[in-house]
């Protein structure tokens, strides 16, 4: 076989591989959507769940997922940004830093159930937050911080050190240089990481079972006073999320339409992740343009 044929063959194989991957994903998506979408109605999206009768919806779970996501990201984004900046800009290159880095990375491959149990013992019991959105958001923060921090650090490190020198040579502090020049430039990378993190938050079940809880008490959508117990904004109420709901009905569901609810909820979850993905990407691009004054990424 001569080199030309080899080249053709290899290209063919690569096309096949790319095709297979797309096929696998397409069939995955199709499977979830075809099974689930027929069950998705406006009623399904807004009605509260029923524990043992047919006809329940996922309204509260859907809201909980989003609220938890927002809360978790509000806590973890600034923290990971601060930590990532510290690691990439300030930390001395010594054994202590590398120890910290290593332990953060190890934490990121810990099974989420271990993190969930840790959160349960610390936040739910020790801090007496109970099964609540707050406990859930905190445990998701713990769960997500290593990944986000690493991502921020890597994104910052990928920006040329010449940019830092430029800022410093103008008499700016390293902090201001990083916050106003390096971070905006690293924004696409940081946003991608945040999106992936948010996707993990949205789909996480194991860590939430013991922290945000598995019950979705009825919410009073007319009362937005965060102190009222049935208020959607109350961070101290238990909140079953969509992923936990899927897990629960798959394992212990006794409602007659459990299969349909589970399939429908999975489809909604996928669609939500997809929409979120696109939205965050658009937002990141928008922010990047606004902060750097560029139409497109420069040369």
């Amino acid at each position: 076989m001569n080199v030309k044929q080899q080249d053709k063959l290899a290209t063919g194989i690569l096309y096949t591989i790319a095709g297979i991957i797309i096929l696998v994903l397409a069939s995955l998506l199709a499977f979830i959507l075809i099974q689930g979408l027929p069950h998705v109605t406006w009623h399904f999206l807004t009605a509260p769940a029923r524990s043992f009768e047919a006809g329940g919806g996922i309204g509260i779970q859907l809201f909980n997922s989003f609220y938890l996501l927002v809360l978790a990201m509000l806590i973890s984004v600034p923290l990971s940004l601060g930590a990532g900046i510290y690691l990439s800009e300030y930390a001395k290159k010594n054994w202590l830093t590398s120890l910290i880095r290593t332990s953060i990375e190890i934490l990121s491959s810990l099974p989420s159930v271990v993190v969930g149990l840790f959160g349960f013992l610390i936040f739910v019991i020790q801090f007496k937050f109970g099964f609540s959105i707050l406990s859930g958001a905190l445990v998701l923060t713990v769960f997500n911080l290593p990944l986000l921090t690493r991502n921020v650090e890597e994104s910052l490190a990928s920006i040329s050190s010449m940019q830092r020198e430029a800022g410093l040579a103008l008499g700016l502090s390293r902090w201001e240089t990083v916050m106003r020049i390096i971070v905006p430039e690293a924004l696409p990378g940081i946003t991608t990481g945040m999106i992936l993190g948010a996707g993990r938050v949205f789909g996480e079940a194991a860590a939430l079972i013991y922290t945000a809880g598995q019950s979705a008490p009825a919410l009073d959508f007319t009362n937005w006073n965060p102190f009222y117990i049935a208020s959607p904004l109350n961070p101290m109420r238990p909140a079953e999320t969509l992923a936990v709901h899927i897990w629960k009905i798959n394992s212990e569901g006794i409602m007659p339409d459990a299969v349909a609810v589970s399939a429908g909820a999975s489809a909604v979850l996928i669609v939500a992740v997809l929409l979120f993905n696109l939205g965050a990407r658009w937002f990141g691009q928008h922010l990047y343009q606004k902060m750097t004054g560029t139409g497109k990424k420069g040369a």
Partner: protein, 289 residues
């Protein structure tokens, strides 16, 4: 941008602290019930109904398993701990300080994959199957098909009850384990030669329940103890219940729950029992019988 994020975070944190400090009067009242996944549907349904009848009062129900329920109530982290077994049966639990409320009875039946076709098994056969002495359905009057055992997780209430009355102290064969009844049912339904066990309420058309020693798995047979594989569902409180906890437990014992809701969900009301069985398995007739 950073400042804004920090500001929002600070606001939220203060909000949270405020919320935590607020008196219970303006934010309603709630208790948390944790534990046995077998009892979870009942308490959840009852809690929902209770909440709709008592405005501003909320019952939060969590699963997690009997072990979680017992250890949480022992630590005083929750108001009620649900369990499928007596607290005394679980190692590491100081049962003395806990108050037992037996709110329902659940019968547990062996279930088979429908294609096996075996209708009746003796206790000896069941024991032989689950200890691994018998590995083919042919040996117990079925088709020539290897037996696939599906267990619940070690320590699960359903498994403890089943092994207590079927194996009677013998060591179970190491086999597949599943965390939840839903998974077990799905696996038994789709795997040729599969056998497992589950609460009556979970048995549906996809799996086949069998008679044990000629006794059918019915509520009626449980109330007379002719069907021996059953357990009480316990709601444990740490000390005598007070306030909302007490009110809710009383509500569970009310006719609205016991007579109307329990049968619909597949549980047997405690006062239907014609016998009483204590921790050691001693059976005595009750007033009802």
């Amino acid at each position: 941008m950073k400042k804004r994020i920090l500001l929002v975070a600070a606001l939220l944190l203060s909000l949270v602290t405020l919320t935590a400090c607020q008196s219970s009067a303006d934010r309603g009242e709630s208790i948390t019930v944790v534990g046995s996944s077998a009892l979870q549907p009942l308490v959840e349904a009852a809690g929902e109904q209770y909440g709709s009848e008592h405005l501003g009062k909320f019952i939060n129900v969590q699963g997690g398993g009997s072990g979680t329920g017992l250890s949480q109530i022992q630590e005083g982290a929750v108001a009620i701990g649900n369990s499928d077994m007596y607290a005394e049966e679980k190692r590491g639990i100081k049962a003395k300080q806990l108050v037992d409320h037996r709110v329902a009875v659940v019968g547990i039946t062996p279930v088979l994959n429908k294609k096996i076709g075996v209708k009746n098994l003796s206790f000896a056969q069941l024991k032989a199957i689950f200890t691994g002495q018998v590995t083919n359905w042919r040996e117990v009057g079925g088709p020539n098909l290897p037996i696939v055992i599906v267990n619940r997780a070690q320590g699960s209430g359903t498994r403890v009850t089943f092994e207590k009355w079927v194996l009677r102290g013998a060591q179970a064969k190491q086999a597949q384990e599943q965390e939840s009844t839903g998974m077990v049912r799905q696996i038994v339904a789709t795997t040729p030669g599969a056998i497992s066990y589950m609460a009556f309420s979970y048995v549906d058309k996809t799996v086949a329940a069998v008679n044990v020693a000629g006794v059918a798995p019915t509520d009626q047979n449980v109330t007379t103890n002719k069907w021996q594989i059953w357990s009480y569902e316990h709601m444990y409180t740490n000390g005598q219940p007070k306030g909302l906890t007490k009110d809710f437990i009383r509500y569970i014992y009310s006719d609205a729950i016991q007579e109307k809701m329990l049968p619909k969900l597949g549980y047997i009301p405690v006062n239907h029992m014609q016998i009483e069985r204590d921790l050691k398995g001693n059976v005595t007739a009750t007033k009802g019988g």
